[in-house]
Symmetry: C2
Subunit: 188 residues, 2 copies
């Protein structure tokens, strides 16, 4: 979907990453994309539809990035995947900010919960695969339980991401902590 | 401060826990407390002052609760402290919701960051003391680094709390995960 719709979603993510999902105004997204608000309502029906689709768009971006992960042992690939959550580039920060915002909004908006649940399960599932690979190749300890560990690793990324986005942790500090978490849970 | 001001802050926390900090309207807090909006402006100057003081009020509530922690080894006291973050009672959930909301808002509002930073440091400092006690009494492994571990434990609480508040994790699941995190980092 490399079309007008994608442009609108990219604009929505940009606005959410700067001002938050709960302050999101359709008018601002329209201005950012240089289109009328009517076009946004045409594509997404309403504000809620726009937020939902923006979240799914971020998931696709994240999935596309993770698909290009390099080779190596399960432990190395897992660490690389975890470290990629904290990088200086604009897109990584934007993905993280949008994800954090939609998660926060899901506490108060039940409609967002299935999307959050599916996206989290997909993400955790990717980590489960890497943990299983690491157990098989001996780089991760054999008694590690893939599902619960993957859930905790994703929760830790989210806890650290909030502090990183708020400037309370540097990128380097966030990366050091996520490495220590992976090692505490999985070192063989 | 067991007075009118405290009543207003309790009302603000109640509203934040139900509708989020970014949707907070002074009128709603006034209605909840049964007072005029003018009285709220008198006490807190503006909406931002109200949010800031509500966050500090939550910190005092949390500090008062944690001061009553029981005896036992450092590991036992640490685990109890961590588990107390996830309980079924209304106040625990409200504290967690307000804390999560203000943290999320701090990504976009620099004025909130010093408050968040101080509150996090205070919380992590309490965990550092318990980790040091556990190292001294042998219930926590001797090479554990108190400060970085305490930071990660608080980040994990926050990551799990969002899922718990959004109904994606049960109280029991959240408690199981936080126990596993403490053990992975600190078991002697």
């Amino acid at each position: 979907m490399t079309d007008r719709r994608t442009q609108l979603l990219a604009a929505a993510c940009h606005v959410i990453a700067r001002t938050g999902v709960r302050g999101l105004r359709v008018e601002e997204v329209a201005a950012k994309a240089g289109v009328s608000t009517a076009l946004i309502y045409h594509h997404f029906r309403n504000r809620s539809g726009l937020v939902t689709q923006a979240m799914l768009y971020i998931n696709e971006r994240l999935a596309a990035e993770s698909a290009s992960a390099s080779g190596g042992t399960g432990m190395r690939r897992l660490l690389e995947r975890m470290l990629s959550e904290f990088a200086e580039d604009e897109q990584t920060r934007e993905n993280s900010a949008v994800w954090g915002e939609v998660r926060g909004a899901a506490v108060f908006d039940e409609e967002l919960r299935p999307i959050i649940r599916d996206a989290t399960d997909y993400w955790a599932g990717q980590l489960v695969e890497l943990i299983e690979q690491g157990r098989a190749d001996g780089s991760i300890r054999a008694d590690a339980e893939p599902e619960p560990v993957a859930l905790r690793l994703t929760a830790m990324v989210e806890g650290l991401a909030n502090r990183w986005l708020a400037g309370l942790l540097s990128t380097e500090q966030a990366r050091t902590h996520i490495t220590a978490t992976v090692r505490a849970e999985l070192d063989s």
